[in-house]
């Protein structure tokens, strides 16, 4: 990637913002986001991350983008996973081990049901968007 000029940077930001609003350009309309700070990883977030990807593959689900992010602040409930699905409220799940990770794919993504006993409160509103 070449160095950006001011115009390049603005254009890039615009494009990326639009991509986020429309969700992902590559036909993925849902997202599963795994918190992978030191706290999450120590609690097993890598296993969760892999379990989710494996389960999506096993069920041939291709419309879900799996991403990672930093600490969501809910260290008491690591690993934490945020799930964004159109027409459903965005939810953060806590204490998501590999088993619950699979459940997220099967219940939340496929059956569009929230999962009992794992929902955490979203900590704060977003000041950027």
């Amino acid at each position: 990637m070449a160095k950006l000029t001011l115009d390049d940077l603005r254009k890039l930001r615009d494009e990326k913002q639009k991509a986020i609003e429309k969700r992902d350009p590559s036909n993925k309309d849902a997202q599963i986001i795994v918190g992978m700070g030191t706290c999450g990883i120590a609690a097993g977030a890598k296993e969760t991350f892999n379990a989710i990807i494996d389960e999506l593959d096993a069920k041939n689900i291709s419309h879900v983008l799996v991403r990672q992010t930093g600490c969501m602040g809910l260290c008491h409930s690591e690993p934490t996973v945020e799930v964004i699905v159109p027409d459903m409220p965005t939810v953060i799940y806590g204490n998501v081990n590999a088993e619950v990770g699979k459940q997220i794919v099967n219940d939340h993504i496929v059956s569009k049901r929230l999962i009992d006993n794992h929902i955490c409160d979203k900590p704060a509103m977003d000041i950027v968007r």
């Binding site: 990326k16 969501m72 999962i115 009992d116 900590p123 509103m125 950027v128």
Partner: protein, 595 residues
């Protein structure tokens, strides 16, 4: 098929204990009876952190927040809210009650926290610079480089009222203006990511979750003070943060957001990482500079301040990670947006690492002026196991122990100092009735004595002396004269130590002597530790009327200090007992007492 609405019922232990499960079942029944089974899903959640007002019910997607809901209210919630779309107003949380809510204009729903520093943590992939850019990343840098002079930037930061989050709370704008006022030439911008407070981890989480915000802020700082070089001093114990920083630096350089002629503005700036070995004293700014220069990490007297004579004798601004993470937001949203958040003297938010005997430990960010009660009970979900709150410690080993009477004091720099503590970096450790205060003071002192660099006598000798007295008291051998000596040494240390480490090391002792004298007295006069933490003051005895002679205690005792015939009451030999407490834990008949 997908549901139209979701009813979330808190399933935390606190809410459960006040008929939370019954409420959950009542809501499910009401949904079924009203034929909504395909429209509405009722789910149980983890603790929603607001246990004082439980049971909590949330309705999505509207985000309605109901408090103190009873099973009898289920029918009304379904009939009114779900079917007719009218919120049940008598159950709504009274937003006006919350200071956090009124702290910010334009937010009309209840939020416990307000995230400025952590705005991107948990929202973006920290390995992908484009995600940062999409969330207005590097826009503040754009604005600074192309629409503002260095002086404009400093003025805006000064006007915002931002103060250093690394401990001392020095006004950031002022610090920058000192360095800017030095004659042009080599200057440096340094980020302090040493994070030595053992109870704090917000700097690590910020760097792991949003590394670019710190890089952007350092570049803005460089532009403001006229520096072209920056260093991030981070402890080697933070490998993930270092990896993400390295990756972020590489991406920023590739995009030309670091390096020569940034975005064609003519301004050049680059950043290097320096690894520290994890010494507490290396977080002190002059020791940190010595360490970057390759010397032993020992503080030196100030003045000259680093802003005048810093790295290699050149003007240097040192800022904490959290301080820096605020900078881009201040430039983008404006000083006037920022200085409306918080209290008269302390603007903006503060991130706390909430740990100890708390239900929901974690990283939280709240406006300055939030009270300990709001943090501990509304956000933290209260004390673990329903025990009684005894004290909170802010500022880590340099801070004070805060007793319950200050639960409602708005937290800012001045108020914390007034009650004998400090803001510090934001560690917040909660203690309950099972914690012994002299023992806690001993724990912190043990840490600072270990970490003292040894250069100045008050800190090196005074700290050791204090620790000896605390040891004596916890062993039941203390005297009232010891307390007087501790007071005197503490004061001498605060006044005569070379650096902040020694000056603040006695804070846990001073504050605990001030607020928890009765516990010290008990240790000295009655040889008693009410929390049962000081081993040498404990005595285990077996109540002969309760003991059934099951032999469980005798079998578990590693010192063979318990004797007795099968089915006959046992007895503990206090000469050989090592007070490990295993008999106490294992006895099913509560026959063993500990005093």
């Amino acid at each position: 098929m997908s549901y139209k609405q979701y009813i979330l019922v808190c399933g935390g232990t606190a809410c459960d204990s006040i008929r939370g499960m019954e409420l959950f079942n009542a809501l499910k029944t009401a949904v079924k009876e009203n034929g909504l089974i395909n429209e509405v899903q009722v789910v149980r959640t983890g603790c929603l952190g607001f246990c004082e007002k439980g049971p909590i019910v949330k309705v999505l997607p509207q985000d309605t927040f109901y408090v103190e809901v009873k099973p009898e209210d289920a029918e009304e919630i379904i009939k009114e809210h779900i079917i007719k779309g009218r919120e049940v107003s008598r159950l709504l949380y009274d937003k006006e009650q919350s200071k956090i809510h009124v702290a910010i204009e334009g937010i009309d729903f209840y939020q416990k926290q307000f995230r400025v520093v952590l705005r991107n943590c948990g929202a973006i992939d920290p390995n992908v610079i484009d995600e940062y850019i999409a969330r207005d990343g590097y826009k503040a840098l754009e604005k600074a480089l192309f629409d503002m002079t260095p002086q404009d930037v400093i003025d805006e930061i000064s006007k915002s009222g931002l103060r250093g989050r690394g401990g001392a709370g020095f006004p950031t704008g002022k610090k920058w203006s000192f360095a800017a006022a030095q004659p042009a030439g080599q200057k440096y911008m340094v980020c302090n990511a040493d994070e030595g407070d053992p109870g704090a981890y917000m700097d690590r989480s910020t760097l792991e979750g949003d590394p670019h915000s710190v890089l952007e802020a350092m570049t803005i700082g460089g532009y403001a003070i006229g520096a072209d070089k920056g260093f991030i001093y981070i402890r080697a114990e933070y490998p993930l943060a270092i990896k993400r920083l390295e990756n972020a630096l590489k991406q920023a350089r590739e995009y030309g957001l670091l390096g020569n002629d940034i975005l064609g503005s003519g301004f050049s700036f680059d950043i290097e990482i320096r690894l520290g070995a994890g010494a507490f004293v290396c977080g002190e700014e002059t020791a940190l500079l010595a360490s970057i220069e390759g010397n032993r990490g020992m503080p030196r007297p100030r003045p000259p301040f680093p802003a005048v004579k810093g790295l290699w004798g050149r003007p240097t601004v040192i800022n904490n990670v959290e301080t820096l993470a605020n900078i881009p937001v201040i430039l983008l949203k404006g000083a006037d947006w920022f200085n409306k958040i918080g209290t008269a003297t302390s603007k903006g938010t503060k991130v706390f690492a909430l740990t100890g005997k708390i239900n929901n430990s974690g990283l939280i960010e709240v406006p300055m002026g939030t009270t300990l009660r709001e943090i501990i009970f509304d956000i933290g979900g209260g004390i673990r196991g329903g025990k009684a709150f005894k004290a909170a410690q802010t500022g880590g080993p340099s801070g004070g122990i805060i007793p319950p009477q200050f639960l409602d004091t708005p937290i800012d720099y001045e108020n914390l100092a007034k009650i004998g503590s400090i803001m510090g970096s934001g560690g917040l450790i909660v203690m309950d009735e099972d914690d012994c205060i002299p023992n806690i003071a001993k724990f912190y002192l043990d840490f600072t004595v270990d970490e003292s660099c040894g250069k100045c006598a008050p800190c090196r000798i005074g700290g050791r002396k204090l620790l000896n007295y605390l040891d004596k008291i916890c062993d039941g051998k203390g005297t009232h004269e010891d307390i007087e000596n501790m007071r005197e040494i503490s004061e001498a240390m605060s006044r005569a130590s070379l650096c902040g480490l020694g000056q603040t090391a006695s804070n846990p002792v001073q504050s605990s002597l001030r607020y928890f004298m009765d516990e010290y007295k008990e240790h000295i006069d009655d040889k008693r530790c009410r929390a049962g933490k000081c081993k040498n003051l404990l005595r285990y005895t077996i109540d002969k009327t309760k003991c059934v002679g099951c032999t469980a205690c005798a079998r578990v005792c590693p010192a063979n200090a318990i004797a007795g015939e099968r089915k006959q009451p046992h007895a503990i030999n206090n000469e050989t007992c090592i007070k490990c407490g295993q008999c106490y834990e294992i006895c099913k008949f509560h026959a063993i007492t500990r005093e």
